[in-house]
Symmetry: C2
Subunit: 353 residues, 2 copies
DNA sequence: CGCCCTGATGTATGCGCTTACATAATCACC
DNA sequence: GGTGATTATGTAAGCGCATACATCAGGGCG
């Protein structure tokens, strides 16, 4: 036997459509049709093909298919991080909806770094992503140029952009924090602390901070500089920030950028002997599943991130199908709980009402 | 001008390597080399190529590349859900490490459904995944057949399999809950409640339950059937389960499958007037970042899931490079906090020590 | 000055699949 | 039973890229 006989001794080369075709006694065209347009092939033949495919262990290879069909059935999403329920739920919603259409989702994380996001976008386009979902709009212009040059459908999420420059699905972040702030104002608070994530490269957070400050300013209230803290968020960061804030001239309410921070604040209040909500009201955001069950339970607000994911998917699917993209403004779900109440003493509260 | 002139009026077809080649006055081979083996091409020429690529907006198309190169640089992971910090962190770790090697991660969720997992695995192989990361081993034999038939490297995570049937990276789940149980036994508890996720199709949870029951049994202790509850976990489930358990003949300690459940249990205890840890000790698992900051802070244990992700990546990279795969048993990080203490009254505690 | 070697580039084939088109087979109907 | 319509299948040409091999240009050296 010649040594170059094509006996698959060493590495049994992965099978290809032609192997299935041979096995089933048909042409590769029929194999392809059996999988992609089953009703264009005689049931008897189709079954023979399926059986042959099973026998030789064949799975169609997407690369070949993508090339021939000019269609990858790939969609990409770029998110700041997976380490947050917000984005994890969002991705889950996105993936579930896209999966229903046989589309595979490519996920990549940019850590809120615009240039990393641009690089990731390049990778995704190179991989053949047919559409992209982006969190916010804080990206280099070049990214959008890339998309429009190739007319790649995209959607901005976690942010509702009224201007309509891009289709978007998300919350009005400013409005959301206006709501939170007004809740506290209505309870009678006049002296505030604010602990937020870093607004750098994060327009959503910037909007939220803007919403708080503007609303307070409308009521003639300013936040003392040392009562306003931003940074890399975590419960510990909330704790540390709150300790600083409560140290001197403490406010009667602290608005937190999310529940993780707020839970740290609650711990700090406890450690410093502040009673919540008697001495201090605290609000979170995102409404973590545990926030309802901790003590004191946390006043918070959220939007349905899974829904946001599926709406984003819908928006991309619409565009891929040549339909008009719908932007959607999601509603805020506000949950008032034990961590907020009227301030115990009204201090210098001169509000004439 | 003839109407069929190749003027890109309507749809400016995405550019291909040949367009770049023409623009730069070289062949497609040189274009390819400029991108993949830059030092095999004269700097002057390479720059000309890069400039041309920029000009015509060309990105290499992965499908063509994959086909020609017989290499997709794609790796897949199948996880039960993204809606859990455990898996989100794991995926993040996995992706970070693979990304360093220029490998794109394909993520899909199976919801602990073995047949869904099999389907997802098929999709991933079809997409050209060169290796797979799987949570646990509770999959149809067919899935592993698929992998071994094509000799696709894989790794089992979130579970350490001593048997060495598959490379694995994870915790010894039984041992972990033995540790938790022994902690409570050492404190003097003799009457236990157990609230766990559903062990169906989830060997990790089954092992954990086994670890608890076996350890107790070694001490001659059995858990009352109505003090042992499993189900779809959430803080609310923990709350409901605990209300049931605390209703009659309450135990002095409740072991929970994770922190979310435990936080629900804490809420139930509060609602029923049980003081934690005086009247009731509670343990969680996974050590959620908030668990240290809530009141009472929660005794919990965890493993480093991001590390697990990067070790899993390493294991796959080793196999892809033809090196030996290393299984790794991760260490348990146990955190004793306020939610556990000696039981207030020793009840019927007859332990002679 | 010619030879050979090295390094840069080009030519052309094939990766695995889909699909337009060609062909063959079947059927209805007069 | 012949004709045209209809349906089932086959043939073959790419999809965009990488790369083995061929070619060509220099350069070193005798």
């Amino acid at each position: 036997m010649a040594p170059h006989d094509d006996l698959p001794i060493v590495s049994p080369r992965k099978s290809r459509a032609v192997d299935v075709a041979r096995e089933a006694g048909v042409s590769t065209a029929t194999v392809s049709r059996s999988f992609n347009e089953p009703d264009k092939v005689l049931p008897k033949v189709r079954e023979r093909v399926m059986e042959a495919a099973r026998k030789v262990g064949w799975l169609p290879h997407a690369a070949g298919s993508a090339l021939a069909r000019q269609r990858t059935l790939l969609v990409g999403t770029i998110i700041p991080t997976l380490r947050s329920g917000i984005f994890a739920n969002f991705v889950a919603g996105l993936q579930e909806r896209l999966g229903e259409e046989g589309i595979t989702l490519l996920v990549s994380v940019s850590g809120n770094d615009p240039s990393k996001a641009l690089a990731e976008a390049r990778v995704m386009l190179s991989r053949g992503a047919e559409a992209l979902s982006l969190v916010g709009q804080a990206y280099p212009e070049e990214l959008f140029d890339l998309l429009s040059a190739r007319s790649v459908p995209h959607v901005i999420t976690h942010e509702f952009c009224g201007d309509g420059k891009h289709p978007s699905v998300g919350l009005d972040n400013r409005e959301a924090f206006v709501t939170v702030t007004q809740h506290l104002l209505a309870l009678g608070h006049r002296k505030f602390g604010l602990i937020m994530p870093d607004p750098k490269n994060n327009n959503r957070v910037a909007e939220r901070i803007g919403g708080v400050l503007e609303t307070l300013s409308d009521h003639g209230i300013a936040i003392n500089a040392e009562h306003q803290i931003t940074g890399e968020w975590s419960p510990q960061m909330g704790y540390d920030a709150a300790v600083g804030i409560l140290n001197r001239m403490p406010p009667t309410a602290i608005i937190c950028g999310n529940d993780q921070i707020a839970i740290g604040v609650l711990a700090a209040a406890r450690a410093r002997g502040f009673h919540v909500p008697g001495d201090l009201s605290v609000t979170g955001f995102d409404d973590d599943p545990v926030s309802e069950h901790i003590f004191p339970s946390l006043t918070s607000a959220r939007t349905d991130n899974t829904l946001m994911g599926s709406l984003a998917a819908e928006c991309l699917l619409d565009q891929l199908a040549g339909r008009q993209a719908k932007s959607q403004k999601l509603t805020l779900l506000f949950a008032e709980r034990q961590s907020t109440s009227r301030p115990a003493k009204t201090d210098l509260n001169l509000d004439p009402q």
